[in-house]
Symmetry: C2
């Protein structure tokens, strides 16, 4: 099969390895933010962050060569950040007004100009008219490219598309659980970064005080999973999906590594939201969890109305902390300590 991956970030680049290993014709296209990556890969160097080679059969395309990369694609993998989806779809739709089946590695919530929030995969399907499958679950890109044991989740309401697409991507060490519950997978992926901020606060308190806060971290973890499960359920997805690999599995990785946790860490160490965001963005990081808290709370209100604060107290606490300067520990402890 002829597969084009859009976005040469860590995961976009990494996923070329298993697909190429299956003998497919893989083309990797970098956005204009990936020009340095494309230059490195084309000159035979490794990806600057992954630091691991990808199969030599993968063809690399720079931002100006989207047409060559995608013209004949039978499957398109969207591997850009959630904020990059619309600009990339603009470019894609010019070349392929009716794109083929898409697999989205982008995770998130989409807020339309009127302020209404939906799942990113629903937005992608509405814009393209093509089916969008979603990949979720715990998969650090460096381990995927190295062929280390990884189990991801592939979600689509279309069972046939699921089976075909999983076959294209999976290898002996990169496996896919298949589920029809795309909503449960997408909501977990979109909001894990939000909830990871809460657990990061406990880590920050450890660093600030020198005392372990494992009990507090462990109290926050299932509270986060419970709210993700509730939100999935309210949106017509399944709580079971969240309790599995897509939600609790992915969250175990997100809370122990990743950028979003760092925002919580700085707050737990006593920085203000402004200071913490300033420090992190100065290093070039995008803290997706910050916006995800706001979008998540908006979505919760959309589907549960004035019950949202009661049903999602941890998300509401994060919102109060990030957007209303609420006291950090007190607000989180009030949620988990008084259930």
């Amino acid at each position: 099969m002829y597969v084009t991956v859009l976005g040469a970030g860590d995961m976009g680049t990494a996923i070329c390895a298993p697909i190429a290993a299956n003998g497919h014709d893989v083309r990797l296209w970098g956005t204009r933010f990936d020009d340095h990556v494309v230059a490195a890969l084309r000159s035979g160097q490794v990806h600057p962050r992954l630091q691991y080679p990808i199969p030599g059969t993968v063809r690399i395309y720079g931002s100006n060569h989207l047409r060559d990369a995608v013209e004949h694609a039978e499957l398109v993998v969207l591997a850009v950040t959630s904020s990059g989806i619309d600009p990339v779809l603009d470019l894609l739709l010019e070349i392929r007004p009716q794109p083929p089946v898409m697999v989205s590695l982008a995770k998130g919530l989409y807020r339309d100009p009127a302020g209404s929030v939906c799942l990113l995969c629903d937005h992608i399907e509405r814009r393209t008219g093509s089916p969008a499958l979603v990949v979720g679950g715990p998969a650090k890109a460096n381990e995927v490219v190295m062929g280390l044991p990884t189990v991801s989740v592939l979600a689509s309401p279309d069972a046939e598309a699921l089976a075909t697409t999983a076959e294209v991507m999976q290898t002996a060490m990169y496996r896919f659980q298949q589920t029809l519950d795309r909503t449960g997978v997408e909501i977990s992926a979109a909001l894990k970064n939000a909830y990871a901020i809460a657990v990061g606060v406990a880590t920050g308190m450890e660093l600030a005080t020198g005392a372990p806060h494992q009990n507090f971290k462990a109290a926050l973890f299932p509270a986060a999973v419970l709210e993700l499960a509730r939100l999935a359920d309210a949106l017509g997805g399944s709580a079971e999906t969240v309790y599995g690999l897509s939600g609790s599995g992915d969250l175990t990785v997100t809370v122990s590594a990743g950028r979003n946790r760092l925002l919580g860490e700085l707050l737990g160490r006593g920085q203000t939201v402004e200071e913490a965001l300033g420090a992190l963005t100065a290093t070039g990081m995008t803290i997706e969890g910050h916006a995800a808290v706001d979008h998540g709370m908006a979505l919760a209100r959309q589907v549960t109305g004035n019950q949202a604060e009661t049903l999602f107290p941890l998300l509401a606490a994060l919102h109060a902390i990030l957007y209303e300067d609420a006291p950090v520990f007190e607000r989180l402890w009030d949620v988990v300590g008084n259930r």
Copy 2:
């Protein structure tokens, strides 16, 4: 209230702090294995492992002075290891043939001489005729004694006993979620040590190869929670309990710290079961998870018959690894990679 804690291990000693802080009359009794702890505490030193002082109002009793410690107790906290429960109940019942309400911090499964397995709390109630409440959830003893934020779970089918007993033990920073689902709490507590061995294997592979295995760890975690939930359900408890603080919350701590994980680590590094157990027991460690795998599998067979291997494939894999020398990675990967 007059509260006696039986067992001067880490948790038994630590829990004296919140109870005494509530103004109760607390007596801590050490078994004959705790003589050195009792000697230290009585001479004004800190607990040798906790390394943190307990309130001066707590009275300390050595193994020969059980009568003085327990004669007038209105609440007894059982804080011995699961294998220590029967010897301690023998002693207790001589002095108090009808003991007062008991709170069990001991976790585990009890196997009677005929080979039948039951929850430890059920065994305690049968032997004593008194109600046994169970404490579960993530609570590292050193954090409890230091007054750091901790949320535990208190479980009993008796709602009134629950409320009264939680009031005795909880403080502003040591909170209790109350649940009627004692079975869900006890099964989580009993088998988390078993499943932690699996996650430990992934850590051992990291140490052996120098390559991260976070994806593999994250794949094992929800597989473990799912099986705990299934077993709770099969025993008449609730899966929700397992998805919460008692199961997934506690497991986050158990897999990142604790002795049972170490057995998995040594196996993941390539040691045989015999070598690994030998190395750990030589340092004086009791690896509860080893027996828990065997008891857990026996219990699973008791309640689900010949469906046990299908419903609990991860537990079955651990059993094959620990008791039948099955290949470690292959057996675990076969479970999570092929769901």
